[in-house]
């Protein structure tokens, strides 16, 4: 019964690196000098990066004008939904002390508007926006159909809450002449959104493409009449609509609205001087203690005017240096104690 070594093959395990746990490896062994110099190097890098980022952020300009309070009367009017068809405009003058050079971008910024609520985010139909099936409103509750059962296009809470203030920037050339600053509404979306993710249903004209659907309840006009000036900027392909549909992650957010068309007086950018925003006020925010503002900003390679990243790098760099110095001090002080004589005896 017992098998002898001769009559069965050897069961000696294979001599491979994996099986014998002998894989070639580099062992991380950081010497004190290694760690300390690593710390110093990291510190230098972070400090340098921080300074560069801060300088770059400083080089960009940004002005923000909160018009929630300035247009209080309009806000009051909008709190009552029955006044939806009453026009309300307000003008906000401001002074630009320095020329904003380069490309200038205009944003609207909302405070306390929750585009990131779970229910809100779910309430959209990507397949409808793709134009394949304009009546696919399944996922859009509670804004999928109107009272009479007609599917809404574009359906859902996101689309329904589209930001619909119109903001026009005018430049006071001299005391009497105001000219409207030329703004472009194209090129404010992601290319992928404009050309892949959003598409109008195919048909000879837009209004027939959307036949059998109705406008979202808060909209004054149907989707194919969003831009009366540019027929190509209508339907699901409206730039403002696309921007709005890319929801923001935080309750305070700004979205790109227009960009400066650098012609005539504005080839250099926005010259210093007096300006005013003419807002046709449609979007209600005061009900939920929200606020609205409009932002003009130039950009650099590292983004906008925000100092956060630069400061974070600087602080990190400083802390690293501090840590490195104290570690070095501790190391030098305690190094002698590590090899105590009795240890050597044990060896």
């Amino acid at each position: 019964m017992k098998r002898t070594p001769q009559d069965c093959p050897s069961r000696l395990p294979e001599n491979t690196a994996v099986k014998q746990q002998q894989l070639p490896a580099c062992r991380l062994q950081l010497s004190a000098t290694g760690i300390l110099s690593g710390f110093f190097a990291t510190g230098v890098f972070c400090l340098g990066m921080g300074v560069i980022l801060i300088l770059s952020a400083k080089s960009s300009m940004e002005i923000e004008i909160n018009y929630t309070k300035i247009c209080a009367s309009c806000a009051k009017l909008r709190e009552n939904a029955r006044n939806f068809d009453k026009e309300c405009t307000c003008s906000i003058p401001f002074h630009l002390t320095q020329t904003m050079r380069g490309n200038v971008y205009m944003y609207y910024k909302l405070y306390g508007f929750y585009q990131n609520l779970h229910g809100y985010l779910l309430s959209r139909s990507n397949s409808q926006l793709l134009g394949t099936d304009v009546k696919d409103v399944e996922t859009c509750a509670p804004f999928s159909k109107s009272h009479d059962g007609t599917p809404i296009a574009p359906c859902g809470a996101i689309a329904n809450s589209l930001f619909n203030d119109t903001i026009i920037l005018s430049y006071k050339l001299n005391s009497s002449v105001h000219i409207q600053v030329p703004m472009l509404r194209s090129g404010i979306t992601w290319w992928t959104d404009k050309y892949i993710k959003f598409r109008n249903p195919s048909s000879s004209n837009l209004s027939s493409a959307f036949a059998g659907t109705t406008k979202p309840p808060s909209w004054p006009k149907p989707v194919y009449e969003l831009d009366e000036n540019d027929p190509g900027n209508n339907g699901f392909l409206n730039d403002d609509f696309i921007v709005w549909m890319r929801t923001a992650a935080f309750p305070t957010f700004k979205k790109l609205y227009r960009r400066l068309s650098r012609t005539q007086h504005f080839i250099e950018g926005l010259p210093a001087g007096n300006y005013s925003f003419n807002v046709s006020y449609n979007f209600p925010v005061t009900r939920f203690q929200g606020e609205k503002s409009v932002v003009l900003s130039t950009l650099t390679w590292s983004g906008g005017h925000s100092l956060f990243l630069g400061l974070a790098y600087t602080v990190t760099g400083a802390m690293t240096w501090l840590a490195a110095f104290s570690m070095m001090a501790v190391h030098l002080k305690l190094k002698g104690k590590r090899f105590s004589p009795d240890d050597k005896v044990k060896l």
Partner: protein, 1111 residues
Amino acid sequence: MSLFESQSENRQSGEPERCLQANNREFNTLFGYPNNTIKTSKYNVLNFLPLNLFEQFQRLANAYFLILLFLQLIPQISSLAWYTTVIPLMVVLSITAVKDAIDDLKRHQNDNQVNNRSVLVLTNGRMKEDKWMNIQVGDIVKVENNQSVTADMLLLSSSEPYSLTYIETAELDGETNLKVKQAISVTSDMENNLKLLSAFDGEVRCESPNNKLDKFAGILTYKGKNYILDHDKLLLRGCVIRNTDWCYGLVIYTGPDTKLMQNCGKSTFKRTHIDHLMNVLVLWIFLFLGSMCFILAVGHGIWENKKGYYFQNFLPWKEYVSSSVVSAILMFWSYFIILNTVVPISLYVSVEIIRLGNSYYINWDRKMFYAPKNTPAQARTTTLNEELGQVKYVFSDKTGTLTQNIMIFKKCSINGTLYGDVYDKNGQRVEVSEKTEKVDFSYNKLADPKFSFYDKTLVEAVKRGDGRVHLFFLSLSLCHTVMSEEKVEGELVYQAQSPDEGALVTAARNFGFAFRSRTSETITVVEMGETKVYQLLAILDFDNVRKRMSVIVRTPEDRVMLFCKGADTIVCQLLHPSCRSLGDVTMEHLDDFAIEGLRTLMVAYRELDNAFFQAWSKKHSEVCLSLEDRENKISNVSEEIEKDLMLLGATAIEDKLQDGVLETIITLNKAKIKMWTLTGDKQETAVNIAYACNIFEDEMDEIFIVEGKDDETIWQELRSARAKMKPESLLESDPVNSYLTMKPKMPFKIPEEVPNGNYGLVINGYSLAYALEGNLELELLRTACMCKAVICCRMTPLQKAQVVELVKRYKKVVTLAIGDGANDVSMIKAAHIGIGISGQEGMQAMLNSDYAFCQFHYLRRLLLVHGRWSYNRMCKFLSYFFYKNFVFTLVHFWYAFFSGFSAQTVYDTWFITFYNLVYTSLPVLGLSLFDQDVNETWSLRFPELYEPGQHNLYFNKKEFIALETTYWTMISHFFIWGSLGFYFCVLFFLYSDGLCLMFPNVFQFLGVARNILKLPQLWLSLVLSVVLCMLPVIGYQFLKPLFWPVSVDKVIDRIHHCMRHPLPPPIRTKVKHASSRRSAYAFSHKQGFGALITSGKTMKGKPKKSSLLKK
């Protein structure tokens, strides 16, 4: 019925007693006994899925995810897509299921193989071959030599005289020596007469199936008469028939009812400390999860009240939400779903994979492969690996574990001359090694080729015809109770009750005095090629008091001779005064033997006057028949004749230690592992071996011996030992005492107490029985645990387990038991880790063990290398695992404060689905399979590195250590960078145009990757995050050893130092033996075997054979 007293206790099924009739299947089927099929497998094709799933869902984490799945199906609270839980759950379940299926398949194959073995059954008056599984209760079965017994059966008859049957019970209890069973005479008369056998219609009533191997009670009713049956007449399944051509048996218990199967009951599932900790942690995590959900739900309520209510223009409340409170309650469950990632679903699976991997390393280790047996180490359980890195107490068997249980005739002293040392040409003594030339025994045809001896002078003396030397070997070949078997002419196989005796008889055989065969009256010896028959007149057997045995024989020359061998202390008192000077010389030699740690025996003889012997013999036989105080009388009578002995010499036998035992024990000592030896052997031998393998050291301050025979004495002994080791531990004010007086509730833990020196403790089984009683066990434990080494001798298997349990119960540390015999099974099962040495004795220990290998010294590697790595890896793994889950989940907690507590996730659902399963599992797995903080050479050279595990320092409720791969192999690189790369691939795939356009409502993130990854801000933030995560950890690692140095850091420091300046390899510790101990005679066998020989019952010599020899 007193016969069936024990029935009620061991009866589980309704069967009160078993009733059966031979050769009557119809009658026996009435009772519905099972047939002889055994089934160890768990599943079949049909029930696999439901049963396996049911078992898997009994696990907390799996069940939790099932509940989660149901929650997700409720649309009101579903905050994540259903597939986020289904996919991981499916993967986890199927991995486990596949593993279970493979395991069960193996069991099926084993069962099939066993069930289909064939056996001869008596049917219709003829022997017919049938499969094992078809055997039924009441069948008569024929078993032939070297076959295994099919089922538990009543022995009816056999080929041997008196229907004796020799069996080997290695598979049952691990003992390899032969045992004798004997049929009752009424059935043995049937022999192999098939007519009689088929006509046999005896009825058996016996106890119902139970698991007691050494108990059986029943009654055979045959031809109107009752015969009592006991376990001496029962052949158990699993035994092997030896030295018996054939035997017939009546099947009594079959299949699952057999004692073998009843004994192999479900082995208790061993859990590791980490397992336990993991469960506790998971429970805490549940609580944590609950509280997080609660906080968020409250937050949501407040938010809905303050903001959400006014936001209804844009997002009206659902129709079923009547108030913010309702919304908050729903939100609790939504968050319960979202935060599920904090509960580590893949934890159990990953832990299993890691353990499996680390077990395979053990199986694969070439350094734990034992070439002579062609056996690699084997991890039989894959769940205990990390525990190997935490062992604090090792309980070791002695025989076969520390020693090889091979006795070697090493030296002897004959008539004042010492033989056995080897000298070179210059007269220098040389150590015996592989190269030393062996003595050539070719002149002796009967010599055992395996026997080796190196001193030529002894052979020369034999050849020369030295009378004393001849007499010496003659006495060795006559004075014993060994049995011989000669299957092939000239090839003798000895069956010895103790290996010592075997060694002596074999030595005599090789030097030309071959014991060939015996009957109850004669012993046949081939003396220098000449066959002589000695008449055996008496055997005065060994017992523990006499410590000697003698035989009285009549030589062919008609002289009456007494040969005696025994412990030197005893025999030298019985010597004739004329031997005094020889005695002194021999005693000196014995001292030399003792220094070398050899087991010694003195050999003497006496020529008896015929008349004197006759008179004595008469007295002896009278005494033998007396009923009162027989033992004492026999011993007195024996003493009358065992005196005035003429000294022949002394023998020295080496109880060979296993290779590397010494080094291993020294290393384990350094690793602060306490070594307890639990042995069934007697005190002298145990202590002797303990010194030989450095469990006890000569430098020890004191060795306490506890051998009291009542509570009071033992208590005294234990207390006085403690008084020496740590006097203050007896004071009331001692923290342990004051703790114990508070009568803490079980389970409590007795803290470690430090004595003032190095002490050892010896306690024997008899005293231990008292000491294990309730009120003394704590005394025992405290005293014993203060000692550096403890030896318990004369232990029963149960006591071994009790000792292990004791330490386990009060010390709360990891215990390891290592042994090779069936008597170690109980302790192997009791300890946290059981290790079986697959060596000399049977397979029982191995089969019950968690790890099995061939040599004791592999233990060092198992613990210090594999155990330590496993523990470190597991700790790192768990820390990292919990860390990554927490990080992942806490982001959602944070985000809730910005998203109106609306259960919105930060990540997209696919990322959540894959995070644990795909993106992060491999790097962690890689870490936990390949990481080595220090390599094996260092961990063996610095056993101190083992200590942190014993105190469970690396993973406990307080500590979370960050990911630190210290050992970057190719695979680590591959896993980490691969996972990262894979993440980006999956990202681009999931966000690709095609997929999004196909399923626009499932894959919504078209273009995100492309547009975001272009932004420099993203990369800058990424770099900053990495810096912020890494630096504090590195700084902590740097400062920790400086501020709070633990011994391990020092060791690691030294290792780094050594790596830069390589040291010469450590000097091998020289094997040294202590000076002053004399090892005593050690017969390890039971007394009373001699009586069996003279009674003639066990004599298997056939008349014709012996007569042949006489000629």
